[in-house]
Structures are given as C-alpha cells and as structure tokens.
C-alpha cells in the first residue's frame, strides 16, 4: 500500500513537471521565432526588399515579414551555422549572423557577401554595447553604409583614411572598437569561405583531414 502511494505520488509529480516544462518550451520556441523575425527584417532592409503592408500606416506583422523573407531567401545550414542565400534580388548573395568581442561588449553583426567571396555586399550591426558616442557609433546607419561593396582581398581593413578598395574609414576616437570589428569580419569571412568550399568539394576536404 505504501509503495502504491509512493508510485502514484511520483507519477503525479512527474506529470505536473512535464506539463510545466512543455509550457516553458512552447513559450521559448515562440519567443525565438520573434528573434528570427527581427533578423529577417534586418536582412530584408539590407537587401532593400520592401515588405508590402495592407494598410499604409501600420507596421508589417511578423507573418508578413516572414513570408516575404522566405520568398526571397533560401535558408541553408552548413556546418552547424545558418546562412541565408538570396533567391531573387541579388541572387546568390550569402547573408549570415556572426558575433565577437568588441572593446566592452559582444558585437553581433549581420554580414552579406557576394558568392565569390571577393566583395562584401553589406553589413548591419544587430546588437552592441560599446562606449556611447564613440565605439557605439558603429550602430549608426552612415557608418554601416561604408561597408557596401568593399573588397575583401587580401583582407578587409578599417583604417584612418580609406584609400584602397579594401579599406573602410574607422570611427574617430574608437580605434579599439573599429579594430575589434575588423577582426570579427575577417574571421567570419574566412569561416564562410571554408564552410562553402567544403560543400562544393567534400571529398577533397575529407582527404585533407585524414593526413
């Protein structure tokens, strides 16, 4: 009798716990869907693809953004990372999210490269907490526009006076944040190149690893 009581108690308790966890997980998945929509909106903005809204005054809903995004981009998982590849406008351009340490904070950026990996299509800063007024200015649109069509060979450089096609003007007084951003971008480009080469020539890559 005592054993049965124990069994029933544990079964009821476990069931309640499972129900609570299921609820928490559903909430979590819904919330992460919202994060995805935010990212989609940033990508659409970078590619200058408008989201048509039924009534002129209202903001587009999450579903509208998602639909437009899925119409224009292909989502591809390579090596555990997610890449968004343009299907219509600027076909083949690869967009992806990356992050790295800034001076104070983690800088999260969206990068888009042309499929030959020789030129940057554009850059958007998703989140950062650098010094307001100095490094924090990387969040400004004007700074982000400087990255449009910058060449990536041999590497991208953020310098005082940009003169070469692979150079971008840094922010005055924020040399550390600028340097950090440069490191993040170049590392990310190297990674994406590597990831897509592996997809193109899987055998070659495997042979190389066996050595």
């Amino acid at each position: 009798m005592r054993n049965i009581k124990m069994l029933i108690f544990l079964m009821v308790l476990s069931t309640l716990c499972v129900l609570l966890l299921t609820g928490a997980n559903i909430l979590y998945q819904k919330a992460s869907a919202v994060f995805n929509v935010r990212l989609y909106a940033v990508i659409l903005d970078l590619f200058k693809i408008p989201v048509r809204v039924q009534s002129a005054n209202e903001k587009p809903t999450g579903d509208e953004i998602k639909n437009v995004f899925l119409n224009n981009f292909e989502i591809k998982n390579v090596g555990g990372k997610t890449y968004y590849i343009a299907k219509k406008k600027d076909r083949g351009v690869i967009a992806f999210k990356t992050s790295g340490p800034g001076l104070w904070s983690t800088i999260e950026i969206l990068l888009a490269v042309y499929p030959n990996f020789e030129k940057l299509y554009g850059l958007r800063v998703i989140s950062q907490a650098e010094t307001p007024g100095l490094g924090g200015r990387i969040a400004e649109r004007a700074f982000q526009k400087r990255f449009t069509d910058v060449e990536l060979t041999p590497t991208l450089r953020i310098v005082k006076f940009a003169s070469a096609p692979n150079e971008v003007d840094a922010i005055t007084g924020a040399s550390k944040t600028s340097k950090a951003l440069e490191v993040i971008i170049n590392r990310a480009i190297k990674e994406v190149k590597h990831a897509f080469k592996e997809v193109a020539n899987p055998k070659e890559e495997r042979g190389g690893r066996e050595k």
Binding site: M6, F9, L10, C17, L21, A24, L27, Y28, S127
Partner: protein, 221 residues
C-alpha cells in the same frame, strides 16, 4: 559548514524592539541572510560562486536566478510536504528543482541572451546547487509555506549579497570596471588574478575571514 540545519525552534526571539523584528518570520529571514549566510556562513554552493563572480552583471543574474528558484522550490515543497512520502522526498526535490531551473534557464535565454551565454552551463547547474537541496531538506519539509518562503528569501538574498560583494571586489580589481563600465583610470594596471577562478578562492577566503571576525566580535560582546 557551521550550522546548516533549520532549528527554527531554537531561535531566540528578543523581547525588546519593534514588533516586526520579533516575529518568527523575521528571525528566520535574518538567520538566512546573515547568521547562516549560505556562502560565508554555511559555505555551500561554492563552485558556481567562484565561477560567476568575476563580473557584477553575471553575479546579479545568477543570484537572482538562484533566489527565484529557491523561493519557488521552498514554497512548493512546503505546500506539498504532507503528501511527499518520506522515502522518495529527495526525488521529489530533484524533480521540482530541475523543472524550475530549466524554466528559469529558458527565460534567461529569451530575456538576457548575452548574460545567459556568459554564464554558460552554470544556470543549468543550479539544479545541483546544495543550497536548494539544503533548504528543502532542512527547512521547507518541516515548516508551513509562509515561514519557508521567508527562509528562502533570507537565504536567497544572503546569497545575492555574498555574490555581489565578491563580484564588486573582483570586478574592480580584476577588470577595473563596474557593471561593465570602466571606473579605474586607464593607466592603472589591473590584477588579472582576480578575474580568474583561482583568484576567487583568495577573494572568498578574505571575505570569510572579515565576516567571521565581525561575527565573533559581536558574540564576544
């Protein structure tokens, strides 16, 4: 571990002073917050303490997470204390604690993703934090909900206080900053020893020394 047990019956309720300070819940609260502080008094849950107190932000989020889980856990365990069969009470604690911790972890991932990343596995490891098990077994299983919640609140705030004071010390010395904002001038070099877990041992030792000598002075009087 000086005295990690409950023994709320042994608490001496002073005859002088304000009414609020004479209630049992207040005594239980102060007991957890100061006299039996989980870090400096009971010396429980040290692993995560040493790991997350390098920055104020991390310490704050971690201690809030522990406090929330602790209060909810104590409330639930004490509410169902008459239903729990004695032989499986540990399993019952584990079930409730893990459910709460996973839920809190999910919430942190949604609302403060950066800090959740910085804390790494330590939020999930709250499940194995002895403070939670300890309070459930030593207090909540024998006491009514209201007093158990006060006890959890006291211990939780005691934990918060300990972590924040350790982090204050370690972040200023180790990084020269506070809540991520630089406060020491750039020329001063920081002691990187305090930013790594081994340095945390020294910091914790110094703190326990100070707190215990204050306590001893009081009892000597």
């Amino acid at each position: 571990m000086s005295n990690p047990t409950n023994s709320s019956a042994n608490l001496k309720i002073p005859k002088k002073g304000y009414k609020l300070f004479k209630t049992k819940s207040w005594m239980v609260f102060i007991e957890g917050l100061w006299h039996n502080n989980p870090i400096f008094g009971m010396v429980l849950g040290l692993c995560s303490t040493l790991a997350v107190t390098n920055l104020m932000n991390n310490a704050l989020v971690m201690s809030l997470a522990v406090t929330v889980v602790l209060i909810l856990n104590s409330a639930i365990i004490s509410a169902i204390r008459n239903l729990i069969p004695e032989r499986v009470r540990m399993i019952a604690y584990m079930l409730v604690i893990s459910t709460l911790v996973i839920t809190v972890d999910r919430f942190l991932k949604i609302f403060v993703p950066e800090i959740s990343n910085a804390l790494g596995p330590y939020v999930a490891l709250i499940i194995t934090n002895c403070i939670l098990m300890g309070r459930a077994e030593a207090f909540a299983i024998n006491n009514p909900v209201r007093i158990s919640v006060m006890d959890a609140l006291g211990v939780g705030l005691g934990y918060t206080f300990s972590l924040m004071s350790l982090a204050l010390f370690r972040e200023i010395l180790g990084f020269g900053s506070l809540f991520g904002l630089r406060i020491l001038p750039k020329g001063i070099s920081t002691l990187s020893l305090f930013s790594v877990p081994p340095g945390a041992f020294f910091a914790l030792g110094i703190f326990i020394l100070i707190i215990n000598s204050i306590r001893k002075e009081k009892t000597d009087k």
